[in-house]
Symmetry: C2
Subunit: 470 residues, 2 copies
Amino acid sequence: MGQDTISRLGEVLGPSGLLVGTDITERYSRDWSGDYHCAPSAVLRPSTVDEVAGALRICRDAGLSVIPQGGHTGLVGGGTPDCAAQLVLSLERLNRIRAIDPLGMTMTVEAGCILQDVKDAAAAQGVLFPLALGAQGSCQIGGNIATNAGGLNVLRYGMMRRSVLGLEVVLPDGRILSDLRALHKNNTGLDLKQLFVGTEGTLGVITAATLRLYPQPKHIETVWLCCNSVDRVMDLYALFQHEAGDFLSAFELITAPCLELAFELDDHQSISKETAQYPAHALVEISSSGGPDLKEWVEDLIAVAFERDLAADGFMAQSDTQAKSFWRIRELMVEAQQRRGLHLRSDVSVPISSMAPFIAKVTEVLSAELPGLNVLSYGHVGDGNVHVNALPPEGLTGSSFQPYLPLLVEKLNEVVDSFDGSISAEHGIGLSKRAALDSRLQGPQRELVRAVKQLLDPTDCLAPGRILVP
Amino acid sequence: MGQDTISRLGEVLGPSGLLVGTDITERYSRDWSGDYHCAPSAVLRPSTVDEVAGALRICRDAGLSVIPQGGHTGLVGGGTPDCAAQLVLSLERLNRIRAIDPLGMTMTVEAGCILQDVKDAAAAQGVLFPLALGAQGSCQIGGNIATNAGGLNVLRYGMMRRSVLGLEVVLPDGRILSDLRALHKNNTGLDLKQLFVGTEGTLGVITAATLRLYPQPKHIETVWLCCNSVDRVMDLYALFQHEAGDFLSAFELITAPCLELAFELDDHQSISKETAQYPAHALVEISSSGGPDLKEWVEDLIAVAFERDLAADGFMAQSDTQAKSFWRIRELMVEAQQRRGLHLRSDVSVPISSMAPFIAKVTEVLSAELPGLNVLSYGHVGDGNVHVNALPPEGLTGSSFQPYLPLLVEKLNEVVDSFDGSISAEHGIGLSKRAALDSRLQGPQRELVRAVKQLLDPTDCLAPGRILVP
């Protein structure tokens, strides 16, 4: 990058808007996955949409590649450079909450707002912004939109796409596309914002969004149920789906090996250690944002589950604190995997009615491929989304496990294909899944996806190599 | 159209797949609006996706324009020819229900399925397909998707877009784009199906879809409340939104002139004629697909509404029959307008919190423009969607009213703009709103919409002149 370009960028972005050399701290170089590490040649930190547009024009003219970056919490290498010539465009200074309308149930926020701050601002007005993720204390709303984030509340509120009413986007050539009207219905042909939701910054840089808000939950019942098999958990799901209907706000599957991992980190949990004897567990949330109290009704429903032998043991949270402790176990099992170092991670979906046979099949296939592998299946099975992860067999760690990963992923993806599933339910594609995605696209799909990229970014200056194989 | 093209189409489509000359009945020439009438040069009636692809290739090679057509229930001239050289591509024979999975909450249907048949097939399996429209007995699911239909249940279930999990589409050049996987989560970059939802057949022909299903409502309470102003109706909305939260499945505003019209057609309604003395009414549905009964709780909530002087009178349906009779009034007021002949129709949205001032302003502006105009405002105000219609002043009917319409529409749209609203909340653009839409697009929006059309349909053979000004 020439000195001339640096000074032009400096003019547009101001002194705190451009980092080069040793001013570039470590955080701009990696995401949470830890799978990728590369320092950018510069970090652009615009504070207005016009600065984003100005900086992008300069970069395009200079033939530079720009990687839009949110809160660094991605898991597929989408938001960090993969070669030192790339620049990072961080949205962190575009972090104003522009408007909240609690009656109209909308709010308009800039891309760099931290998800937790968005949720808190809504809550302060008595309304709910529902997206809920482990990373919510540091991920940014622009990144949530660019990756069409999922999380714990998808069953009730859908993926991020459903909550986006309007977007402000800077196109790769610096043109600004803005429609932030706070409208719940607006049916005027091609819905341009859909081009940018989930495309990981490859087609434009999201700078602001108008979001849909919801009534706050008033009654929440949280239940932990222990089952004798994944099949029984899915039967339980069928019961809850039929009886609780749209009160069902979360239905998480946790298999025994996951629970054992969580207990490794902390065994003073509200769920006794003995529960790990049961092979599969359901963490269920039933909630409503109005109407009568649900407690007695949920107790009756659980009684039905026991009568029908769907659950063998269980706990109903008697307080907010206890409900939080149930969810804490789910967080702990993720943390425990992270601490084990390199392991197989996945994020796949299948039709909900295939969940139990899929988990059985994939466990069998992976275990046959590498005996001793500790397969951990858990996830948002009410959405058909399961994370099939695996810890290496005893004695095989880090670099000695690495060579097995590509084949394990391939085998896993083949099982997903055989169940008509998706190799990415919610984490996106980024760098890590682009080859697997490419080989699964039908001809016309691949052509159309590439043609849209070519249309919007003919010089491939924005997030090159993300989603699409170069 | 040459004899050679006709015989090639005949070969692909078979004897019952192609209508020409006097075999083309009236129904292919007009939609429900009655605003447009033009017979096509031929009607293509394919019965498989491959026939659709084959026919489109022949038409493109011959330089013919094709108008995809569903159940003829559109209101903006999108689905009928506007010049006699155009062909109609009717999806009516693609009407198989391919699969239903009540546990997985999905179903796969062909585009020509009648909406009511889709709803009935879901109901037979104990699940709900929620889209509900006046036209549901004749509109087709492909048309519902191509127009991103709205209707009476948007408040709870969203527009059609939200219920589309997968699509099979034939592109203008005959390529088939198919992804009908029954997945609730699938996050793999550009979501191609979004290009075809709401674009009224301009980018491709939808031939099948995988739809999202929902639990069936178990408890439904329907309430008619009479208020002293539109402001009070919106205060009532704020109360219900806050207290009933996601139980609120419909909140319709009906102003007094609409009610009078309904009584004109049939005054033996369950709502007494005297209620028309109140200037504004709310038709509210509160429902749940599980959990405890809602009746007592709704009674208590209505008592609060009376205590706070938000409602002056009201009726709570004591039976399904009575609930249906409330909804029948809403249908009658639409029928009554239709019988009056030519009148001003609109379908606009504004931020929900601007609804009352918007209705006051637009009524004032239209009445000033043409004194004696009978302005009727009603709609799904819980979605921010209102139909501001108007009957001509006494003595001004049909052709003598016609010359006033363009200016009235322009004035109406200007008020919509001043409230940051949309000129099409749910009916779409078609032929009738394309000029109004075009003048409202920002430069980059217009460029991008046209570039996507050019990309997918470079010869403009599919639904030409719909949405986009030629």
